[in-house]
């Protein structure tokens, strides 16, 4: 058959079938029983499992990682790897969670998954002792250095009140999908750190933030267009005091929880509650909510609570 003939006849057949179907209610016969649509959750909270299993269950409720990652895309996963401490101390994102997220991304067809942080302690020791480097490599992802200013490029945040320009890691600019995987913990100055504050690890000069109204800068950065599509807050081992570095293992409470949301203000508000804090008291949360970055009133949100 010639190509033209094939096109013509298949077009005709399609038109005929379409017309036929529109005449009667045949779709019920073809499709079987009506399917419930996935509930459009604003936030999924999971409790009682191991990090990897909690993520499996939680992301499923949001339609799987495939709702965020498509085939051939470059994904950036940004955990908190700020400190040269072992995973049990809860100062960095749980490596088991990071590993699982990377695995999910590859399952969804990601071309490459990158992981980095601009660490506080020596970055090589952080990558190594946090267990995250091993975890990412095992999952097939790429650990990328964030230690040199030359990896960072200047961006502008036109509507920022205090932070109008800053240098961000080139991967933030280059990636197709950005997944924020912070750890929930106490913070000596902001009282809590989770999703929004984790962005201090994608910029070069966070000293500027500290010196120029820290809370406002955290909220301002969230205005930047390249936002994380997904926020996964690790609340497995939660540092309840002496954060963000922690002093001893007694600072840790084994909450075995996780919060997943596309709205990072909502995720942080829920995370604050997990620590027994009022979201209103964590200044950057109400500031960000007032700027329209997300919703902090958990009562108005469609939350899916899962206990394992």
């Amino acid at each position: 058959m010639k190509r033209r003939g094939f096109l013509r006849s298949s077009l005709g057949a399609g038109l005929a079938a379409g017309t036929f179907m529109s005449l009667g209610r045949f779709e019920k016969v073809l499709a079987g029983r009506p399917l419930p649509q996935g509930a459009n959750y604003d936030l999924v909270a999971i409790m009682g499992g191991e990090p990897a299993a909690m993520f499996d269950i939680g992301i499923q409720a949001l339609g799987g990682i495939g709702s965020f990652v498509s085939k051939g895309q470059k994904v950036l996963v940004k955990p908190n790897i700020g400190w040269d401490v072992i995973p049990e101390k809860g100062a960095n994102t749980n490596p088991a969670l990071v590993k699982r997220v990377v695995e999910h991304c590859f399952k969804a067809g990601a071309k490459e998954v990158y992981v980095f942080d601009n660490t506080c302690d020596n970055w090589i020791k952080c990558y190594e002792n946090s267990g995250i480097q091993r975890a990412v490599k095992d999952a097939g992802g790429k650990m990328v250095p964030g230690n040199s200013e030359s990896y960072y490029q200047e961006i502008t945040i036109p509507n920022g009140k205090k932070l109008t320009k800053t240098k961000v890691h080139q991967l933030v600019l280059e990636c197709d999908v950005f997944i924020n995987t912070p750890v929930l913990k106490h913070h000596s100055s902001t009282r809590m750190t989770a999703a929004l504050k984790n962005m201090m690890g994608v910029v070069w000069d966070r000293g500027y933030w500290h010196a120029n109204n820290l809370h406002q800068c955290i909220a301002d950065y969230a205005l930047y267009t390249k936002k994380p599509q997904l926020n996964i807050i690790d609340a497995y081992n939660v540092m309840m005091r002496n954060g963000p570095r922690g002093v001893s293992k007694e600072d840790i409470t084994n909450m075995k929880s996780m919060i997943i949301s596309t709205d990072w203000v909502a995720a942080d508000a829920a995370a604050a509650k997990m620590m027994g804090l009022e979201p209103q008291k964590i200044d950057y949360i109400p500031v960000a909510a007032a700027m329209g970055i997300g919703k902090m009133d958990l009562a108005t949100l469609n939350i899916h609570r899962i206990k394992m």
């Binding site: 506080c120 230690n147 000293g207 109204n213 001893s248 840790i252």
Partner: protein, 520 residues
């Protein structure tokens, strides 16, 4: 032994030593643990000697090995183990390649007075407990500074070029490292010595080793009793002079068939150069009466010089001591630093500055770059001795690298648990500089970085928290000072402890229970 094999063994052995020691300093990725280089550092004469005399470490007997080796074989150390000596051989070789005539040496008279004066000065000051001259003249330390201040940055520069190239192909096995130059004054001494030694070696072989280097002079003095030496076979020698022409030390007086053993570094070049096979290396045969009756003035000069220097040196030392930091009272918000901070394991400033030869191995190895060469912080006499510079970095809580690798014992080993309780300084908070007080906005960068939470945050106006230092658990790691964003003066800084103290262990409160229901 007449074999040319000796020279080849020397070349291979010394190249291995040079490569390993260079790698020790240049290894910016920490690929090989510094401890693996222990045996090589153990045999470095001055570091081992210092560790033994001053720190009293019984295991630091490498210098004894060198003394015995020298008494047996002559200055083998200078050609086989001294990295600066080997480096000079490399430079001489390059010199010979650049200009043919630089390949040819000739006998020259020793600068006896200068040699022994420098040795006496060094030894005299060392005997009364100072390393000031050694800091500048120890050959291993000079080599260490070349590596740390010139070669390592150059290696990182090349690495960065390659890393950015590979980065374009999404390969991150090489990563970029920001090169931060040291303070300008720091380069004065290494640059001066690079020029001096480089030029001398380029043209005159081992002239530096036989004129300036106190270790060379000392081992040369000792090798006058060595059992194995290079000697002439009087019958075979036809006085062609090839040996003298090949001698980097310019110590062969072929007309008189005499070798100045105090300057011979056992390079064995002459063995190969001699076509008549008239030169050999073997057990010494003392000529009974044929020995030229030239009085050995050098020994007398040495002894006289030593005595003189011990007397004079104490005066110099006293003068230098006044330049060590003294408390200064300043009532501005400028950081009122009374003392510089010496590294953990040094136990205090005075013992540290009397032991450190500024080889800069710790500076090269420090993973956070907190160890920086000082300019005048330890006094002018302590130039180049590393100090903790918290503007550059802060001391990693779990790291004990510098305490493990210091070859002189200026920094003694500390177990991680002991290091975490060693107070090298104490944090001082300047409220009038603090963002929280001046801007009325949150900051807390200092407390964030504090590993013991000696830098705590306490309620301030409104919802704000402000730092407060809990003195007894502060270890002076400098994380707070490093993180503090205020300029030009920090709102929190670490003042050195002239004598290191033991900090209290931070108290651990009881673990809190986890919520069993979602609180939202």
């Amino acid at each position: 032994m007449r074999s040319v094999v000796l020279r080849h063994i020397r070349i291979v052995f010394s190249c291995i030593v040079l490569v390993l020691l260079s790698f020790l300093f240049v290894d910016f990725r920490g690929m090989v643990p510094e401890k693996a280089f222990g045996p090589l550092l153990y045999l470095q004469f001055i570091p081992s000697l210092l560790k033994f005399i001053i720190a009293g470490v019984a295991t630091a007997t490498g210098f004894v090995v060198i003394l015995i080796l020298t008494a047996l074989s002559g200055r083998t150390y200078c050609s086989f183990l001294c990295p600066l000596g080997i480096l000079q051989d490399v430079i001489s070789r390059i010199g010979g390649l650049v200009k043919r005539r630089f390949r040819k040496y000739a006998f020259r008279k020793p600068y006896t007075i200068l040699r022994y004066f420098i040795l006496a000065l060094t030894a005299g000051i060392l005997l009364i407990g100072g390393v000031y001259v050694l800091t500048i003249l120890d050959p291993y330390s000079i080599f260490g500074r070349f590596m740390t201040y010139f070669v390592k940055p150059a290696a990182i520069f090349i690495n960065n070029l390659l890393a950015s190239l590979l980065g374009k192909f999404d390969i991150y096995t090489l990563y970029k490292i920001d090169i931060k130059p040291y303070e300008l004054a720091v380069y004065a001494i290494p640059v001066a010595f690079l020029l001096l030694i480089g030029l001398l070696a380029f043209r005159y072989g081992r002239l530096y080793c036989n004129t300036v280097c106190p270790v060379g002079t000392f081992l040369g003095f000792l090798s006058k009793i060595s059992l194995f030496r290079i000697r002439f076979d009087e019958e075979k020698c036809n006085r062609c002079g090839r040996c003298a022409m090949s001698c980097k030390s310019s110590c062969i007086d072929f007309l008189n068939k005499h070798i100045d053993v105090s300057r011979c570094v056992n390079c064995f070049n002459c063995l190969e150069a001699c076509n008549e096979k008239a030169m050999s290396y073997g057990l010494v045969r003392f000529r009974s009466s044929a020995e030229p009756a030239v009085p050995d003035t050098s020994r007398r000069n040495f002894i006289a010089g030593s005595l003189l220097m011990i007397a004079g040196g104490s005066q110099i030392l006293r003068a230098q001591n006044t330049t060590t930091p003294i408390p200064t009272k300043d009532s501005t918000v400028k950081e009122d630093r009374l003392y510089p901070v010496s590294p953990p394991g040094s136990s205090g400033i005075s013992s540290y500055i009397s032991r450190c030869t500024a080889c800069s191995l710790c500076v090269a190895a420090c993973p956070t770059s907190v160890l920086q060469p000082s300019v005048s912080e330890f006094g002018i006499a302590g130039i180049m001795q590393p100090r903790m510079d918290f503007h550059r970095g802060f001391c990693n809580y779990d790291c004990t690298l510098c305490t493990d690798i210091c070859p002189t014992g200026a920094i003694m080993p500390l177990m991680p648990e002991a290091k975490k309780l060693t107070r090298i300084g104490k944090a001082v908070f300047i409220k009038d500089n603090c963002i929280v007080a001046t801007e009325k906005t949150a900051c807390g960068a200092c407390s964030e970085h504090c590993p013991t939470k000696a830098c705590a945050m306490v309620p301030y106006e409104g919802n704000l928290l402000i730092p407060e230092v809990i003195d007894d658990i502060c270890i002076g790691c400098g994380a707070c000072e490093h993180a503090c964003p205020t300029k030009p003066y920090k709102a929190i800084f670490v003042d050195g402890n002239p004598l290191h103290e033991v900090a209290k262990k931070p108290e651990a409160k009881k673990m809190e229970s986890a919520p069993s229901e979602f609180p939202f």
